[in-house]
Symmetry: C2
Subunit: 256 residues, 2 copies
Amino acid sequence: MTRLNESVPASLTKARLPEIRARSFDCERDQLSPIENLLSRKQQSKLQAIATILDYQRGNSTIFSESEDAHFVYSVISGIVRISRHSEGGRRQVLAFMLPGDLFGLPDAGIYANTAETVCPASLYRVPWRQLRETMLSEPELQLNLLIRLAFDLRQAQRRIMILGQQNTLQKLASFLLDFVQYTDFYDVRNHRLTLPLTRFDLGDYLGIAPETVARAFAKLELAGLVRRNSPRHIEIPDVAALRQVVAGGRRQQRP
Amino acid sequence: MTRLNESVPASLTKARLPEIRARSFDCERDQLSPIENLLSRKQQSKLQAIATILDYQRGNSTIFSESEDAHFVYSVISGIVRISRHSEGGRRQVLAFMLPGDLFGLPDAGIYANTAETVCPASLYRVPWRQLRETMLSEPELQLNLLIRLAFDLRQAQRRIMILGQQNTLQKLASFLLDFVQYTDFYDVRNHRLTLPLTRFDLGDYLGIAPETVARAFAKLELAGLVRRNSPRHIEIPDVAALRQVVAGGRRQQRP
DNA sequence: CGTGTGATTGAAATGCTTCAATTATCGTGG
DNA sequence: CCACGATAATTGAAGCATTTCAATCACACG
């Protein structure tokens, strides 16, 4: 079962190509906030000239697996991609969810260090690493933008370290929800409704807690009136600012 | 109190300059293993031409603080630098310990995202970011090496996420010790003696656990015959392979 | 030689995981 | 479109791990 089974490479002659974006140096720090386009039109077209569009029709499709030979780098156009790695014991840790505009799949010694799978239907740019490498060498400005992008990803990873290192379950879940609220693809600001294409397993493996604990944390937040579960994957968040208060508190839960 | 108070910039005319190193694509993955020098002589000298050497005589000196304007990038020549960030509650999380050959201080929107402090006496290269940026644009190969370096740092951060997300106290401590054992600066292979210039507070903030818990974990490892505390900062590790077994086990402690 | 900081250990409280059972949800095929 | 089955989600209860508070001990440095 190769990873191309479920993908339908689309033509590059589409009228309006989605943008390949790099994060700006000037974006809000420590936020998954809307991203700016740092690439010039010329750089965009350079990238798109060597890119292929892949459409994954369903969730849980493998894009690539850890320890495979790495030939391509990817960028999310729409949907969500789950980046994960397995420990020796076989336990899965979700390292990140890649959202529209994100870049992933950089090779490590010619090999993928992580596994990438779709969480829901998704479309991606696929860029051959070899060509990207050559383009970067001939276009230093483009390369610098990718370097800045990578620096941003590093800070995101550091943010996750902060969260995993010093937040309790309730705060972890709140942090996660606050991240997703930034994306209008998933959060309807008017109705305060968040659509999570993730299971409690995904969430647990992302936050470093058991899926049961995730469910319990949702229950607690609901009891406190901070969220409302219309269904497991449709969450209403009436007051985002109140959720932020949960994160701001100490490690232990505040006494009433 | 500026950060230059304790530093003594040395002359650049030293006979043999320590190398500024970049990690190789081909180095062992997920290991703080000895690193290869990826930069050519020409690239080395380009960097060293714009670098200053700083010598910090003592530990706990601040190199830079989070939210300061960022003008320099640093590389460790000798010693250890602690990279940390504080949460809203003021709690400190140590994101990484920078060891000889490591690079740190990349600006985020012109500002340092983290705090960098010496853990013990240390000497560093200091490179003006503005000049480094220009050099990268005129030397794409050099830039690519720095990009690869950054990719390595990202994978290191991901490794920390794995550890924080799914290891218990004993495993976290064991993982940490195994990392440090790789560095001959701190581990004497002949006597199996590890010298840790870190306090239990540093360690706790790094592993996301209370310092008391660190002490207890050391006690457990000692009881199991896996380490021996000659003094709090002088640890004997008779059998490194046995320590690895601790990490390999499940999250819960194995029954006897 | 004293003092302050770091390290260790004890004991109680709390939070998280695990196992187990039940209920809800979603995708699929009839 | 509905019913079904598989999978996900929820909740309960017990056990264990970690934190916290507190007290003591060790050590380095002036």
